[in-house]
Structures are given as structure tokens and as C-alpha cells.
Symmetry: D2
Subunit: 283 residues, 4 copies
């Protein structure tokens, strides 16, 4: 009884590395986590255990470190593209390589506005991410941010929604809006060199500016506005996929204590959360 095998891909997850570049006046620090995923002629190992075409995931790990040494890693996109190209070029059995890289946020320590040459303080949980897919030499670039946690204390309403026997939430014209933005935007298949750091910074700034400045009638509306802003400011971006959980701050019920809630005291809860998503594409 032969069965069909699909999605037969494998790789190495969470290869972590620290790279220090020792410049004359300062050190540069990068901390990355890398996922490697390969697709290709691997069905034999699934069906018979014939590993002759299998690149061991341990070798993938070694490859990440060796290429990290040789590559300047000016951006995670350029490094990921080099990794993807390596696997597709070197191994004929590899049809596609997908590389995801996350960069940990470190800030240079500074004192009295003087940046320190070699001391760093960890930044927030936000992680810059890229996903590069090389399919037989055609290279797609995607980038984004994970866990960008933002909150605004006003300019957020939610009213006029369906009201029926399951509804207890009151309309509100002023609530806290807190979310952890996860965004992934698609640069398509750019042919030339690109300043990936500049593209990333522009898209991220578009997300932040819009979140902060938008008069929100729903999380959905703000999400869409954030996506539009990315497209408006970043000509290379073809589409952007955004996920924004609504991380609720519930007004504490002061009625039993003879007090009113003046939109001042809230209970932050982790779960349940609203989960809002959408993809905004250029026409």
C-alpha cells in the first residue's frame, strides 16, 4: 500500500550564534538564531532509511557557524541569503532552502551620551526577523518583526459591534490598546543589492508611527492602517502580513467598593486574547 509523501522537508532549528566584530574604536555585536529548512530529493530516507542524499542537520549547524565567520553579516537578510544560496548551490539534491534568522535586540551601553566601545544592555523582547527562500536560484526576501509590544492609553474605541444574547461587552469610546505586533512583509524577488537595514527601519517605523498616531475604531482598522503605511513608505514591499493579539486591560470593577473606575485602574490579562490578522497587498 504505497502512500503519498508530501512536505518532506527537514532542517536545523534554533542555531544560536554570537558574532563580535572588533573595530579599532568599538566592537560590534550580533546575536542571531537561525533556522535552516531544506526541501529536495529526500523521499528515500523517509521510505527506506537510505541517507545517501541527506545532509545531516549537525552539518547544517556547522555550516551556519562557518559562514557566519566568513560573512560580514551587515544585515540578517544578506547573511540568510548567503546561507540559502550555499545549500542550493552546493547540493544538487536540494531544491529549495528556507532560512529564517532572528536578531536579538542589544543596545550599546552609553553614559552621558558617550557610547561605550564594548558594553551592551539587552533591549526588549522584540526580535527582527527575516525569511529568505531560495528555490533553484530564485531568491525571495521577507522580513519582519516579532513581539513588538506597544500600548496606547487612549485614541482607541470599540463600539457598534453586534449586540445579541451573547454580548456583555459595553461600547467604549476610550480604552487601552495593547498588542504585540507580529509583522512579516514581502519584498518579492529583488534583483539588485538592497539596503536591508534601511528597508527594515522604514517598515518598522511605519508600524510604530501608525499605531501611535491612529485614532482606532477597532484593532482591525489600526492593523489595516499599519499595513497601508508600510506599503506607502516602503516601495519595495509587495505585501505585509500582520497579526495583533488584543492584550486586554480590563477596567477593575470598583462598584463594590463605592468607587468609580475613571479609566485609571486596569487588570492586564494574558489570556484569553482577541486575535486579529490580515494581509495588505499592493494592487
Amino acid at each position: 500500500m504505497p502512500h503519498t509523501l508530501t512536505n518532506d522537508s527537514y532542517g536545523k532549528w534554533d542555531v544560536r550564534l554570537t558574532k563580535v566584530t572588533r573595530l579599532p574604536d568599538r566592537h560590534e555585536l550580533k546575536e542571531l538564531s537561525v533556522n535552516v529548512l531544506l526541501r529536495g530529493e529526500f523521499a528515500d530516507t523517509y521510505r527506506t532509511g537510505d541517507n545517501s542524499k541527506i545532509i545531516a542537520t549537525d552539518s547544517m549547524k556547522n555550516t551556519v557557524y562557518v559562514l557566519a565567520k566568513k560573512h560580514p553579516i551587515a544585515s540578517i537578510e544578506s547573511f540568510a541569503a548567503a546561507l540559502a544560496e550555499h545549500f542550493v548551490t552546493k547540493y544538487p539534491q536540494v531544491e529549495a532552502a528556507q532560512i529564517v534568522v532572528w536578531e536579538k535586540a542589544w543596545s550599546r551601553f552609553s553614559r552621558d551620551d558617550r557610547p561605550h566601545p564594548h558594553a551592551f544592555v539587552a533591549g526588549s523582547a522584540e526580535r527582527r526577523r527575516c525569511m529568505i527562500t531560495n528555490i533553484k536560484g530564485q531568491v525571495g526576501y521577507m522580513a519582519g518583526t516579532d513581539d513588538l509590544l506597544v500600548l496606547k492609553t487612549t485614541d482607541s474605541a470599540f463600539a457598534g459591534f453586534v449586540r445579541d444574547e451573547f454580548t456583555t461587552l459595553a461600547d467604549t469610546d476610550d480604552r487601552i490598546f495593547a498588542t504585540s505586533v507580529r509583522a512579516l512583509w514581502d519584498y518579492g524577488y529583488p534583483s539588485g543589492d538592497e539596503d536591508w537595514n534601511a528597508h527594515y527601519a522604514a517598515a518598522r517605523q511605519a508600524l510604530l508611527d501608525t499605531f501611535a498616531g491612529h485614532m482606532s475604531l477597532s484593532v482591525q482598522q489600526t492593523l489595516y492602517a499599519m499595513g497601508e503605511a508600510v506599503l506607502a513608505r516602503c516601495p519595495l514591499v509587495q505585501s505585509v502580513e500582520i497579526t495583533m493579539p488584543n492584550q486586554h486591560r480590563i477596567p477593575f470593577n470598583f462598584a463594590p467598593f463605592g468607587l468609580t473606575n475613571d479609566n485609571d485602574i486596569f487588570v492586564p490579562i494574558d489570556e484569553p486574547c482577541g486575535m486579529i490578522r490580515g494581509t495588505i497587498k499592493r494592487e
Copy 2:
């Protein structure tokens, strides 16, 4: 500049509930976590903030609790199907509802082989899961298990893989094989009543039996064999998607201490891990 909006879906994530059914001789306990995701005519709230077709995620949460009270929850599949049907039937603007339910593993406390009527001890991290998708009344059933952590101390080899300048891993004919199985199988669109608990138990047992009994030449091969076993034993299953991280146990290097590693002492590491996946479908 109008943009295209896709994937405009939203819902409530991680609605947690405990249901106690008080039978004459014993209590039954269910602890679930429920995700609700709706797709439909929601573009207006994204584009203009018009919420008139929006079911508040808070109302979805209420709905989960109200239906949990009314429904016997004999299986998570039947409960999830009821939830999905509710949303598709009640709200014309909802085109599709996807409900995911996870069930926490609780074991009835027993003493001297006598089961206790109302005390329970938490089981492992493994969580039974189902995903029910109702698209305008057509109901697809999927089920699976997350975080089923298993380990075998022998009957696992890995040899004959590509050996080049990036390879340092030695061939081995006997290694520890530890993984956290994540499997999701597809029952298609069954029309009649099904014993979901029996189907689940059979598929899970097929995974476990095969993992334990297989002479593994690669993680990939064992994964494929596990998938085949599910298809062989569960006629209703159309396909099964399995993800198995290779959670390495590295032999400790005793050479500096004048000792040998006799396949007895290992260092378990969380990352990096090999990541192996595949989908096995009935022809």
C-alpha cells in the same frame, strides 16, 4: 491607492474552561483551551472601522462558556463542531469558523487500584488537540496530539549521510532517539456520527507503538512509519502531518578524563534541534 486585503480573519485565542460533570459515583473533569477564528464579511471594520458586522471576541468567549454548559463534551471534536456550527449558522456574515480545542491531560487519582471519585493528578505536557473547520456547513475534522514526548535508548541509527568538509558527526548504529511528537491527522468530511475518542486513541496508539517498535535508520524513516501506521489502523484518516524535532542527547566526551563513553552518559540539549517533518497521505 486602494490595497487588497486578504486573510482578514479574527477571533479569540486561549479561552480556558473547566467542566465538572457530577455523576452519582464519580466526577468527570475536562480542562480545555479553545481558539475561535472567524472568516467572513469583515473587510469594513479593517477599512473604515465600521463594526456593524463584527462579533466581539468577548462575545465569542461568552459563547464558548454558554455552549460548554449545554454540551456534554463527550469529545473535544464534538464540542468544537458544535461551536463552529453555532457561529456559521447564527451569523450570516460568517463564512467559515475554525475551532481549535486542546485538552489538558488529567489522570484520575487511584490508590490500591481503586479510582478516586473526585481527585485528579496532572498528566504529562501532551495535549490532545482537534481542529474543526466549518465552511458554510461543510465540516472538516482534524485531530492530533501536541508535545507527546517520547524517548528510546536504542534501536536508532544514523549513518551513510553526506560526508563533506562541513561534516563532523560520526556515523552511529546506536543512539538515543528523543522527540516531542506533534501530529495532526485529517478525517476529511465524515457525514455520520463518529466515536472521536476511539479514533483518537487508535491513532495515538499507532504513533506510540511504531515509535517504540521501529528499528530507526533516520528520524525521517520513523516519522514515515508512524504516519503509515496511523493510516493502516485508522480507516477514517485521510492523511497525517507529523513534526518531530530531534531532541539530541549528545554523548559526553570522556576522553580528557581517561574514560570511555560506553553509550551511557549523555548531555540533553534543547537547542539546536533537528526538525523533521512530513505528511503521509492515503493514495
Copy 3:
């Protein structure tokens, strides 16, 4: 300006190891996590950076693996005692060594009541723990359990507490009682050989039996009864320290939906939680 230095101790945290013992008919599996903490004549490295008396924490890690190979690890207590003795005996500058070992719960896979010779399934989050302290050859033994998650659906009341302007909780004669027991009991300084596995099993069983069987008027009362039971059943135990968070299951408020809560549907919440603790000592 000389300052006083106290608590100048250091060590290695979370040394993880897997030990496989290959018996003729079956394999035995132990997975441990070990903390080593040393106290002694280490002030110089703190004050001047003179490391001449410092045992590198990397060497502690090596020591754990070397001793794990040589020691049968019949119990985590015996292994931890051997580790503690090693550090105190070998290094004159070490005045005290404290070793904590956690054991991961693995269950042998079984099928049709036949135990499998070498396949295992992960147990619950509960971890057996011991803490052995060797102070210049005097050896104190403590043992316990972490994260033993239990729940009972009845036989738990909470009433008659202080009622004032800050009180909104109603008296109840029937609530869910869920907690994650953390217990550490003290065997004192036993001189002879002990069956640590039997002592552990007896104390753990006393905790479970009492939790399940106790008619609870408060978490505090059940905690005390559990401690008393350990002392009653385990003559070697001198005292037991127990911490039990009250992991609330809140009855869902069905009033807005024209339904009643019949003690059947609850919302489990992680936080906030009541935190109850106490130490029960033999007179």
C-alpha cells in the same frame, strides 16, 4: 573602605545529564538536572581577582559527568551525597557543598501490560528533588517534590473568613481545589544507609492521599494535614515545608445569559493566585 563580604558562594546551575543503564532484559533511564554550590575560602577572588583557590564551574560540570558515570545513581540522594562529599573531601578550601538534583519523570512505555525494554514516555511536570548539604563532612539530607499538580472537584470549602469593606468573595461549601504542591522534607543527618527511594515514595504518597481524602476547610488546613501525614508515615522525616498556590477555578458568571452556574463550568486562571505555606515539625 573595606566592606564585609557574606554569602560568597558560587557554583554551576542546571547541569543536565542522561544516564542509560543497559541491563540484560531492559534499559534503565535517568534524566537529571544538577546544581552545585560551594562555600569556602573564596573571598580573594571577590576582592582581588586571585583565582588560585577557585574551582572553575566548568570543572564542576565535568565532575558531575565523571561521577555520574562511576556512580550507580540508585537514588538521586545517594548520587548527590557522593557529589557533595567529593567537593568537600578533595578541596580543602571548600567548607560546604550543597547539591540539588531534580529528576525528570519518565514512564516506561507499556503495551497490553507488557513493559517495553527501552522505550519511554514523558511523565508529568512533577520533578523529584533532593538537596544534600555537606558541611565539613556532616551530611544533611532533604528531599521533596516540585510541581506536583493536583485537583479535586469537591470536599473543599472556604467560609467564615474576615468580611469587611474589601471582601467580595462569598462563603462557599463546595469549590474546586487545584494546586501545585511544592514540598521539601528534612531527614536530618542520618548516619546509616537508607532506602531513599522508599522514603521518597512514602512521603509523596502521604501528600497525595491526604490531599485526595481531606475534607478541606481551607488550603491552610489541608496543607497542615498533608504535613502531618508525612511526619506520621515517615519516621525519618524531621520536618516538612510545603508551599501550595491556590490555582483558582472561578465559576463563570452565567447570570447575563439567563443560566445558573451549577458548580459545573469554571474559568481556570494562572494569576493572581493565593499562596499558602507552612512548615510542620516533629515536636
Copy 4:
């Protein structure tokens, strides 16, 4: 068989709150997590289930919110002191109240150096913490920081340690030094009003400046220097307890690949970690 009961304390853990203060030109945001622990005449509930002196932990939770509304929360220390005083003053059966408050790091969003009036971006994992203990009106103040993650790429050596048959680590005069500082300093029992925010900022800055500027011969030495700096700069601080895990960055072994590690590429590992601690007290 009467047993001795000690450590019979209880409370509410992880009461989370958000406070928004709406000033004319901007909003202020505080997000706190509060632990309440009470000690007093509570033995009856442990021994007999008599709850007549028990303040329900649910009422403690209510109290935190009510006092958060009334209190300006200029500092977490002042708010925690008010909470502690409340419990000790209001309830004669309470002999001591210990309040721990953590503050989540939020940064005001700013654009082109203009701070936004009501949008915030999450800061790092670092959490300011205080612990206030009120024993029958005598109030002890402690404060500190948790999870302050810092890294320096040079000015860290480790050499001259014990070298024996368990040692494989080489001496190094240049390594990465990464740690997550946990510090708790003791202000004693100050009688007057204090600027807690200024004290906190000074102590934290002393920790950071010393970490960055110290030529480290061991983690221990840097820890001690950091403690000395806190005492030197903060006259109110009587002692400071510091815990610093050595979060290793292991040089990747390039030898199999014909390359050298030039102190440029490292493998960050979470565990095992060295664990270094000490308390530095004013004479």
C-alpha cells in the same frame, strides 16, 4: 501528637495592575505586579480550619486595586509601604506584612525627539523591584532589579584557577562576559521621606557603570566591585545582595574546518551556567 507549625504565612501572588494617570499634556503609565504576604495569628486555620482571623487572598487582591486607585504611586516603594501599613494597621491579627512589587519597563514612544503623549513601547525584560516589610509598624525598605541583562565583549579574563584532573577549561585573558544581574539592596529602616526613584536610579547606574568599566579577572571580582560601587554612591544603602549567572558564550571550535576562532564567533548557551553570588555590606 501535636506538631510545631512555623512559617505559617500566606498571601496573594502576582496581582497585576495598570495605572494610567491622565495629565493635561501627557499620560503616565505604570504596570505593576504585586505580591502580598502576611504573617500573624493564623495557626487556627492550619490546625482546625477556623478561618475567623483569615483575610481572604481575594480580599488582598481587592485591596491592592483600591489602594492603587487612591495612591499616586510616585514610586513602587511608596506604594508598597502604603500597602504594608494598611494590612498591619487594619488587622490586629497581622504581625507582619511583606509586599513585593515589580514594575514592568515601558518606554514612552518618541519620534524625532518629540515624546508621544500616550503611546508606549515595551522595554527590556529588566524589572525594577522593591520589597517592603512592615513588622508591627517598623518598616524595612529593600529595592533592586531583576533580569538586567548585560554583555561586554572584552575586558574580562579568567585564569589561574585550580587545574587538576577535572579541568578542561583553558586560561583566557579575553572572553565575553554576559550575565543577567539580579540585585537587591537594603535601605534599612529610614525614618523620613526619601526620593526612592533617585535612590533606585543611582544604585542601578552604579551597577551598570561598574559592569561596563571593570577590568574583570573573575565574575566574582566584578560582582564585588559592583556591590562596592552601590555602597559608595548610595549612602542610604546598607548592603547589597547580587546574583550573577555566567551566561556562557562558548567559542565555536573551527579546527575541523581549517579555520581559527579569532574570538569572533561564539555559541550562546542557556545552561548550564555558572552561578555567582555575594552580599556586600557596609562595615
